[in-house]
């Protein structure tokens, strides 16, 4: 429940801050950058989608850390099971809990903040979310590999989390600064948020989604390949260094 409410609690100060700065819930200046003047729904969607960012970055690496602490990691790595299957199992468990959190958030947003969602828009949004999750789990697999070696990876995860917040349109449109706009092109969250907000807030036709979904799919392949390579490399490294037995 904490994780369901936390992103909403996190977003409320930004809503009040925005209201104080622009003098209301809508802003023409904001609209020029974001394509919508409705600041509150823009940020709420960012908060909902970023739940998957939280869970994927902290989930898999944290789970590896706990296995290491419990002393069970050696038995997992010493089993004939394909490690990618074990990681996917952990990812699936994270996805289910994240989806429950997102559903709770949606209910809070719809009944608490007046956000509306037409039934016909659910499927394209789900497709986009699915592709986003795949890309984020590519990154999570890489972080799980790094956790095998360095154990306490929270500082690294925090850094990545803040970089994602800085360079993707979770709280603000990336057009706010040229550097942020440039870096945002390699972050899957950017395309997912643009696509989801396009359908949800801007009433764009489904056809307008395909470009962002295509890019998201390509980034997924890159992130998953990158994540698995890092995990494979780190697994070999810890077997060489003996770090697999340390906790």
């Amino acid at each position: 429940m904490f994780w369901a409410i936390f992103p909403i609690l996190w977003v409320i100060p930004f809503i009040f801050q925005g209201e104080a700065l622009v003098g209301g819930m809508n802003s023409p200046e904001f609209g020029e950058l974001a394509g919508t003047e409705r600041f509150v729904p823009f940020v709420l969607i960012g908060a909902i989608v970023s739940t998957y960012l939280f869970s994927s970055l902290y989930g898999m690496g944290g789970s590896i850390r706990m296995e290491s602490y419990w002393g069970t990691l050696e038995y997992i790595l010493g089993s004939p099971a394909r490690k990618i299957s074990v990681l996917m199992g952990k990812a699936l468990s994270e996805s289910i809990s994240s989806t429950l959190f997102v559903a709770t958030q949606m209910v809070i947003c719809i009944f608490g903040f007046g956000l509306t969602l037409a039934v016909g828009k659910i499927l394209p949004i789900l497709l986009t979310m699915l592709l986003l999750v795949a890309g984020l789990y590519g990154m999570a697999i890489a972080l799980a590999g790094v956790t095998l070696q360095i154990k306490e990876s929270r500082s690294l995860v925090h850094t990545i989390e803040y970089l994602f917040y800085l360079f993707s349109p979770i709280r603000y449109p990336v057009g706010i600064h040229p550097l942020i706009a440039s870096v945002s092109v390699i972050i899957p969250l950017t395309y997912a948020l643009i696509a989801i907000r396009g359908v949800w807030l801007l009433n764009q036709p489904i056809n307008a989604l395909w470009r962002n979904i295509g890019i998201l799919a390509v980034l997924d392949v890159v992130f998953i390949a990158f994540g698995y390579s890092i995990f494979y490399f780190m697994e070999k490294k810890v077997r060489k260094s003996g770090a697999v037995s340390q906790y």
Binding site: G71, G78, P80, G242, V244, S245
Partner: protein, 335 residues
């Protein structure tokens, strides 16, 4: 290398760890040099199919590192090993399928899960179908006498019961080779006796499992093993049956002196070592003719009060001292 006769073959295994020199500050020059530690140093080993083979050595001898290399958890720097004919480097998955492993320490299970659920999870990791896993778990819990406790969380188990579950886990996929690293470490005498008997009679003699057992308890190695490799500083210094190892030392009698207080027996006999047991000093003095040194021993006891003097046969610890000049740090246990 005879694959048909041997379940475990290690050839020139070397495993080193780098001990990095410290820096005075976060950056800047190191104090001293990086050190390369040879945890396993050129180990050649052949364990026959169905053999109960012991690795005996003090803490830090390299036993656990060797077991971890054989179990594919550590990649050796040089050399390789075959487990049931599968190369641990080229074909680690097949090697893992042939191995069941227990390592020392209590924290190797999910404490918030029941004993049965722990075994179910590991059965899945070894690719057992649900029905097969159910059947194996029932069987293993029964022979370990844990049916009544199977649904209780591991955190409520005693140390001995956790070790039984660890052994069940090692056996869940019915492997041909068992690597048991200090299986009785920290257990009370009754659990130790049960585990030893189970390893020897049930697993080895009845089921014909090949077992590589590491221990620093000499009496455990002596009682259980068909053959023993004595390990020190990463090297195997001798391999033979316990009886032959004990025969290998040049004198077949040892004078064991128990006394209160410390005595100076240095220079008496050919070799002497000392340990304490429950506040009593125990000296084992090796000599060619024990009778000839008794008067010297009584004289040298000085202020120490001698409780007993016994002429005993050499133990594996005597063999270890004879071979390495050091002594095993683990005490033999009262049972």
């Amino acid at each position: 290398m005879d694959i048909s006769r041997n379940a475990i073959i290690a050839k020139g295994l070397v495993k080193t760890f780098k001990k990095k020199a410290r820096r005075k500050y976060l950056v800047g020059p190191k104090i001293g040099k990086d050190e390369l530690i040879y945890a396993v140093n050129g180990v050649d080993l052949e364990v026959k199919k169905g053999e109960l083979f012991g690795l005996l050595g003090p803490n830090g001898a390299g036993k656990t590192t060797l077991v971890k290399c054989l179990s594919t958890l550590l990649l050796p720097n040089r050399g390789t090993a075959l487990i049931n004919g599968h190369d641990i480097i080229d074909d680690p998955i097949a090697a893992r399928e042939s191995i069941g492993i227990t390592t020392g320490g209590e924290r190797t299970l999910y404490w918030k899960l029941s004993g049965r659920d722990n075994l179910r999870y590991f059965a899945a990791l070894y690719g057992l179908s649900s029905a097969k896993a159910h059947e194996r778990i029932d069987y293993l819990l029964e022979i370990m006498g844990l049916q009544e406790k199977q649904d209780e969380r591991i955190e409520k188990y005693s140390t001995g019961m956790r070790q039984k579950i660890s052994i069940c886990r090692a056996l869940i996929h019915d492997p041909l080779v068992l690597l048991l690293d200090e299986p009785t470490l920290g257990l009370d005498p009754s659990f130790s006796r049960f585990i030893r008997s189970f390893i020897k009679k049930d697993l080895n003699e009845t089921r014909g499992k090949t077992i590589l057992l590491t221990t620093h308890y000499m009496d455990e190695a002596d009682q259980l093993c068909d053959r023993i490799a004595i390990m020190n500083n990463g090297k195997i210094v001798a391999v033979d049956t316990p009886e032959n190892l004990k025969k290998s030392i040049p004198h077949d009698e040892v004078l064991e002196v128990k006394c209160v207080g410390t005595a100076d027996f240095e220079g008496i006999g050919q070799r002497m070592y000392y340990r304490t047991e429950n506040g009593v000093s125990v000296y084992r003095i090796h000599a060619e003719y024990v009778e000839e040194i008794m008067s010297e021993v009584i004289k040298a006891a000085d202020s120490a009060k001698i409780l007993s003097m016994n002429v005993t046969k050499p133990t594996l610890e005597d063999v270890f001292i004879h071979l390495t000049g050091a002594r095993l740090t683990g005490e033999s246990r009262e049972e």
